[in-house]
């Protein structure tokens, strides 16, 4: 991120670097765009970028964070239009894919270290907790609003699970090379329906043992997280 104490001048330079970087990332991919290219395009010296960003990947991270902020109103709007858990789940994720679409190749740089939570630039890491919590709050919201009765034990876990599902869809989308990422769209539609059904069923008495097992699994996986 841009330094804490930023004069307007510095703020502007930081933005110039970010924009130059994104443009190059989009045009020739993350790896091919060199820091020297980026700095030159931004009209600064090679080392200047490192005054604003600790690493090349941090630029992508900044983009990711800004994107998430920009998306908030779009998400709110989409949830106004859509009805029901299935529709809202689908549209919430669809909004994200649509927003990221022009920068699909850029985001792929995040996927690279996405699996390792210890890596600073991971959607699962500590450094992205703020974004994650905001995201998860949306899922909590649509779960509450949809009116489906959710058992007390599952309720606190479910938003996180849906967020995880969303991440899975985004990852799949990033590697999906079908035309217009059509496979991802079909996956999203079918999975949203299936998940909604499962959530409905999860409250039923005969499902109790299965649900308890699932909860235990979630506990193990999320063990040692705030």
């Amino acid at each position: 991120m841009t330094p804490a104490k930023a004069t307007p001048k510095a703020e502007e330079t930081g933005l110039k670097i970010l924009e130059a970087a994104l443009e190059l990332f989009r045009k020739e991919g993350f790896d091919s765009a060199t820091m020297r290219d980026i700095a030159q395009k931004a009209g600064v010296a090679t080392g200047a970028a490192y005054y604003y960003y600790p690493s090349k990947e941090a630029i992508v991270m900044d983009f990711y964070e800004r994107s998430c902020a920009e998306m908030q109103p779009k998400i709110a709007a989409a949830l106004e239009e859509a009805r029901g858990l299935e529709g809202r789940l689908r549209e919430l994720i669809r909004v994200k894919l649509a927003h990221f679409a022009p920068n699909r190749s850029v985001l792929r740089a995040l996927l690279r270290n996405g699996a390792d939570p210890k890596h600073p630039l991971s959607p699962f890491g500590a450094q992205t907790k703020e974004i994650r919590d905001i995201d998860i709050a949306w899922f909590r919201r649509i779960l509450v609003d949809c009116g489906i009765r959710i058992s007390r034990d599952l309720e606190p876990r479910l938003p996180g699970v849906l967020w995880f599902f969303q991440m899975g869809v985004i990852f799949f989308w990033l590697i999906d090379e079908s035309p217009h990422q059509g496979r991802t769209i079909r996956l999203l539609e079918l999975a949203s329906k299936a998940i909604t059904t499962l959530i409905r069923l999860s409250g039923l008495p005969p499902m109790r043992p299965l649900r308890k097992t699932a909860l235990q699994l979630m506990e193990i996986v999320t063990e040692g997280r705030s």
Copy 2:
């Protein structure tokens, strides 16, 4: 891999490089061990390693391939001892974890690009198909041998699903920092039981619509694969 036409001499040099690399990877991690270090430790020039391996990561890949080959008899032995789908599933994966244990940090280098099937060094990529198929055959084997009736539509898909589950466990294990990776062990035990239960239930008539949906999801995900 070592070149196609390998004289005994070259074979030996290749092995020296592999062993030097693994030793350094284990001692100081994949990133800290430089190719110059590796070459020096192997007693060759810096560039020599590139005659035997196209890249640094390719060394890890070679290790992965060799490990999988070495594991075959261990897997066979483990499946002799264990009974039932749950036990065999658990032990099959446990053997792998045990075998990889001394080189956990080495394997993490594979995890890095593991998500992207287009990357040559990915467990999901085309280049590792052979290994994958052998692995999947084991899962098919224990499914057939366990005697649980599996519906005809699910049967061809299930081995791949179990393989995918195994990959998930391994990934989790690689990032699991709990003492002795105890969380992974608990996850494996509980998940093996749960999966076995689910497979048992999947054949029941009321499960039909859910199973059909799951199958559709699998079809979308595996679309365009041999």
